[in-house]
């Protein structure tokens, strides 16, 4: 009986990776666990010997951990925000994308959110944040808003997954108890659907400001200080734009990877990539605009301290990174994505990878040069990260990939019900909607009058 059931199920392909596991999966998991274990080892070493094992020093006392914190949280904007915006704007092409986007958010947020702990000199005193926290500090704003965003995006990931979980439950996929538990008794009745839809709609509206607040608040860590290169009002929106920018790129990479791995070409069509990469292109321009505005104000004002940081980035020690950032974030994506010939999957992949690298560099460019150029005549410090920092960075990425793979093992990466809903309802709904955008057809009377006049 079940054989027949499976064969008739239209979106069988989406479920298959959950029920079948190849050797590649295990190999991949082994490699990732290895990387994570090494990162764990270096972190334990850091706890034992203190932050001295990093490349941090005076005056560059923030480095990779903070850079990665900002970077990962930025990536997390891929998901919930994009999916919420697309849902809200009723963009029908969103259907196969939203789930992946939301998963990225939840996982990366967890990883990014833990990064400040890596950065602590005394992680054993973490609890002081809860007993003695001081809400005037932007770090606590971060704690609050990241917690809120994590909670919201987890809920936002979970609720639309309920119907899909119910499918898995009904198919009897193992572990059954898990799906039974998570399905929350979904039967797909009219009432249930209404409840879910309403909840999703509220969340959709709510999650957008939370997401924006998160990256704004992260930018506040820097812009609330009075340090040259940081103390800028543009930082909030600038960081948000950068976050969405890197988020889209990360989403594209994940989509391309899983399209290949799970053979999802049927669902993730070129058009999806092209739409999304158009968004990426827009964000690239927007990012450039913000960068330009940010640096022009600094340059034009020509305040000496500001200028020192500025020159350090443009012509000084950080010039290679700075210009590479410009190339990665603007030149490469624009060149590739403007030309329809290169705006194909390989091109998009290259553009996305370049943007992710570029955005990481941007975080580096934000954090280090301001610290390396103190106002008073101290020596400018060169920051060279140590193996510990690199391995923890690799560990962070590995945790992300592993968690994503495990998620894909347990749940469908593409929202089955949304695809089905699209197939069954939206074609008609969109036609209706489109009709409502168009000018109304002329009435009979007017038509005949017109004809009469001609005669």
């Amino acid at each position: 009986m079940s054989e027949r059931q499976h064969s008739t199920f239209e979106d069988e392909q989406l479920i298959r990776p959950i029920e079948q596991t190849g050797p590649g999966f295990y190999l991949m998991v082994a490699v990732l666990v290895g990387v994570i274990a090494f990162a764990g080892y270096t972190y334990i070493r850091q706890i034992l010997f203190g932050l001295g094992v990093t490349g941090l020093a005076q005056p560059v006392s923030w480095g990779f951990y903070i850079i990665n914190f900002v970077f990962f949280i930025g990536i997390s904007h891929a998901g919930t925000l994009i999916s919420a915006i697309l849902r809200l704007s009723k963009a029908e092409w969103r259907r196969p994308i939203t789930r992946m986007a939301e998963v990225i958010t939840a996982i990366v947020l967890a990883i990014g959110g833990l990064h400040p702990i890596l950065d602590l000199g005394r992680p054993d005193r973490m609890l002081h944040l809860f007993t003695e926290g001081r809400l005037q500090s932007p770090l606590l704003w971060d704690v609050t808003s990241i917690t809120a965003y994590f909670a919201a995006s987890t809920v936002y990931l979970y609720l639309p997954m309920i119907p899909d979980i119910a499918i898995l439950r009904d198919r009897g996929t193992r572990p059954r108890w898990l799906y039974e538990f998570l399905a929350w008794g979904w039967r797909g009745t009219e009432h249930q659907k209404k409840v879910l839809e309403r909840a999703i709609n509220i969340l959709m509206v709510m999650v957008i400001p939370i997401a924006i607040s998160v990256h704004t608040v992260i930018s506040f860590i820097f812009s609330m200080t009075i340090q040259p290169g940081w103390h800028s009002t543009i930082f909030g929106p600038y960081f948000v734009v950068g976050a969405i920018f890197s988020g889209i790129a990360a989403l594209l990479i994940v989509m391309i990877a899983f399209r290949k791995a799970f053979d999802l070409g049927k669902y993730l069509k070129l058009i999806h990539f092209q739409y999304l990469s158009t968004l990426l292109l827009i964000m690239s321009f927007l990012w450039f605009y913000f960068t330009f505005a940010e640096y022009l104000t600094g340059f034009y004002g020509h305040e000496p301290n500001e200028m020192r940081v500025f020159l350090y980035k443009f012509t000084g020690d950080y010039a290679p990174w700075f210009w590479m950032m410009g190339i990665c974030n603007f030149l490469i994506p624009v060149v590739i994505l403007v030309n329809p010939k290169t705006k194909k999957i390989p091109g998009i992949l290259i553009a996305s990878i370049s943007v992710v690298i570029g955005m990481w560099l941007e975080r580096l460019i934000v954090v280090v040069p301001s610290l390396a150029n103190p106002r008073l005549p101290y020596p400018t410090g060169i920051y060279i990260p140590s193996l510990t920092e690199w391995s923890l960075f690799a560990g962070g990425v590995a945790v992300f990939v592993l968690a994503f793979m495990l998620f894909a093992k347990l749940f469908p990466l593409i929202s089955i019900w949304e695809i089905q809903e699209g197939r069954e309802k939206s074609v008609h709904a969109v036609a209706e909607r489109l009709k409502s955008y168009l000018p109304d057809p002329p009435s009979e009377q007017l038509l005949s009058e017109e004809l009469g006049n001609r005669r």
């Binding site: 059931q5 008739t8 199920f9 239209e10 809860f130 007993t131 003695e132 926290g133 001081r134 809400l135 005037q136 606590l140 704003w141 609050t144 808003s145 917690t147 809120a148 909670a151 919201a152 809920v155 609720l159 309920i162 119907p163 119910a166 499918i167 009904d170 198919r171 108890w177 039974e180 538990f181 929350w184 008794g185 979904w186 039967r187 797909g188 009745t189 009219e190 009432h191 249930q192 659907k193 209404k194 409840v195 879910l196 309403r198 909840a199 509220i202 969340l203 709510m206 939370i210 019900w417 089905q420 809903e421 069954e424 309802k425």
Partner: protein
């Protein structure tokens, strides 16, 4: 079924957990306000943040609870396991 009962209670527990979490956050923030008030240090900042943060968390918990309660209503409608068309797509069709 006994299994169903256990799962139901687990579900209840998970929904309560979100409330515990939300309450925890609220208590934490209120505690910080209390501390700030006590030593007269950055009280307004604390209050300002609490005004924004606490409602957000409560709304989240409320939405989750709303969905949970809402789904419970039709929990046993149509035994899906005997449904020939397979899975939830039948119910979508039914709606249509």
């Amino acid at each position: 079924m006994k299994n169903d009962k256990i799962i139901f209670w687990l579900q209840i527990a998970s929904v309560s957990w979100i409330w515990i979490f939300v309450l925890g956050v609220a208590i934490w923030i209120l505690n910080l306000i209390r501390v700030a008030h006590k030593i007269n240090d950055a009280l307004n900042a604390s209050v300002g943040i609490s005004i924004v943060a606490i409602p957000v968390f409560f709304t989240l918990a409320a939405i989750l609870t709303y969905v949970f309660v809402g789904l419970q209503k039709d929990k046993h409608q149509g035994d899906v396991r005997t449904n020939q068309t397979g899975g939830i797509d039948s119910s979508w069709r039914g709606i249509k």
